[in-house]
Amino acid sequence: MAMMTGKQYRDSLKKLKPEIYLMGEKIESVVDHPAIIPHINSAAVTYDMALAPEFEELMTVNSDLIGEKINRYTHIHESHDDLVKKVKMLRAIGQQTGSCFQRCVGHDGINSVYSVTFDIDRKMRTDYHKRFIEFIKMIQKNDLMISGAMTDPKGDRSLSPSKQADPDQYVHIVDKKKDGIVVSGAKAHITGAVNSHGHLVMPTASMKEEDSDYAVCFYIPVDAPGIVHIFGRQTNDLRKCNCTMDQGNAEYGIVGGEALTVFDKVFIPWEYVFMCGEYEFAFELVERFATAHRQNYGGCKVGLADALIGTTYALAEAQGTLQAAHIRDKLTEMVSLSETLYCCSIACSCQGYALPAGSFMADPLLANVTKLNVTRNVYEIARLAQDIAGGVLATAPSEMDWKDPKIGKYVDKYMKGVDNVSVETRLRLVRLLEAMTCGTALVESMHGAGSPQAQKVMIQRRANFEHKKRLANKLAKISEQPS
């Protein structure tokens, strides 16, 4: 069984016992908790779509490693075509869920670790890559969902890992044993953490020799002893408990269900250790992961934007404003902003290249430009959507009042738009737009895959200003200074 259905994915989660807390309570069953069900539904779409014939071309691939058809989310990119198809796949799924479907982080993690373990082995004569290939085979055979756990809490950001007052601000090795290592620390903002089968933990920053204990990469099942998940709050999360329509996107929720994931003296067997002290490769891993993940955002966020633009268009129609020239202009602007992001992701994929391991990665400069544009364009798209929606976005009565036998008639009377569109339709569109543009949903576009400054650092590093200066010198007839 190399590909699971959404149902099989849910059933597989029932067999796990991860330790999860939310609002002071321990969650006993992850698949039954209203705060987490939408995120599981969203991830389940990545399984069901792989089995749908219309998405097969994007969602599946034949694995040379296990000789079977697999879900693309467990695949190591072998060509430019793979990179492009990843982006297209993300857009297609985003259109279906209107929310984060979480699985890309682990996918980017396995691709980055695959290539970096090859490079480590080549230089250090270790055997991480061989181990990692066996791990990938296991992931592919079982169609597992892996979280990509990179971001450490970081404590005092001005200090390196080994200089922190509290060593646990970065995940680190606390003991090395004959059969494995013991790690402590935490990873923050981990997407899909509580509904994944396991975590692929990677270092979060470049390291120096004194940080060797922090240069650690490993896989660990989600319910291993010592792992504690603290599920994050989201805008309007209590609506998940007392209503459906007012959630906006009740089936798939908003964002990726992020959690603070604590590692309290967790034992990792050697077969799952893929970096153990090779500090000089930490930056390489971070850069490759960041590139792969930033490549995504002109795929998934454009899929979400497609749904958002549709919502805004339908709402304008419901409110009788669709024919106004400025509304049509704003809707067109939303499309232009969104497709610009898609162009970026497709471009960085086409300009990608092969790594020594034989796998492919996107062009780092263009991938970082993609994500930096996402931190701007998605906000502008949301601003235009809110502009078109009107103030009702922030003031609409609740679904309970609309359903109330006494006052519901007033809601019906005064929330009415054009004749042929029901109040329920209008309210549903308003709530969906609210879920997609207010609060937590937008922050994901700003800080997911790294904050804007992280992209600027990478862009600056690869800008090649000297080349641009040479071009200027040539045009201005300035002779080169002897070097």
């Binding site: 300009q351 990608g352 290249y353 092969a354 790594l355 020594p356 062009d363 690869r462 090649n464 080349h467 040479r470």
Partner: protein, 116 residues
């Protein structure tokens, strides 16, 4: 009369250099000088037959010049793609000397394979 061995043909293939990360013209100039200095090498266009070595010179890691039909034109090829030589990272300033080293290795191999 001493019979001279025929020269090894060497050709250069550029990627197109749309937005090069490295100064490819500087590396090409260096290569031309090396060829001039080595009697056994002869620079030919890539359309020539029986090429011994092809140097594929690409401005970035994308390596647009690295195509199968280009590589198949000779038994040996060297690929520079951005700051890399044959897939290994090499800083731009060290690329010419690294290219020289690999060229010498290939020439030695070709010499040893040449029938007396």
């Amino acid at each position: 009369m001493v019979r001279q061995n025929p020269k090894y043909k060497i050709a250069l293939k550029y990627c197109g250099t749309c937005n090069p990360y490295i100064d490819v013209t500087r590396i090409a100039r260096h290569l031309f000088n090396v060829i001039k200095e080595k009697d056994e090498l002869k620079l030919v266009p890539i359309s020539e037959k029986d090429i011994s070595i092809i140097v594929i010179l690409c401005g970035c890691f994308r390596a647009c010049g690295n195509k199968e039909d280009v590589r198949n034109k000779s038994d040996k090829y060297l690929l520079i793609a951005g700051e890399s030589l044959m897939g290994e990272y090499i800083a731009e300033k060290s690329l010419p000397s690294s290219l020289d080293e690999r060229l010498i290795e290939i020439l030695e191999e070709l010499r040893s394979n040449r029938t007396p």
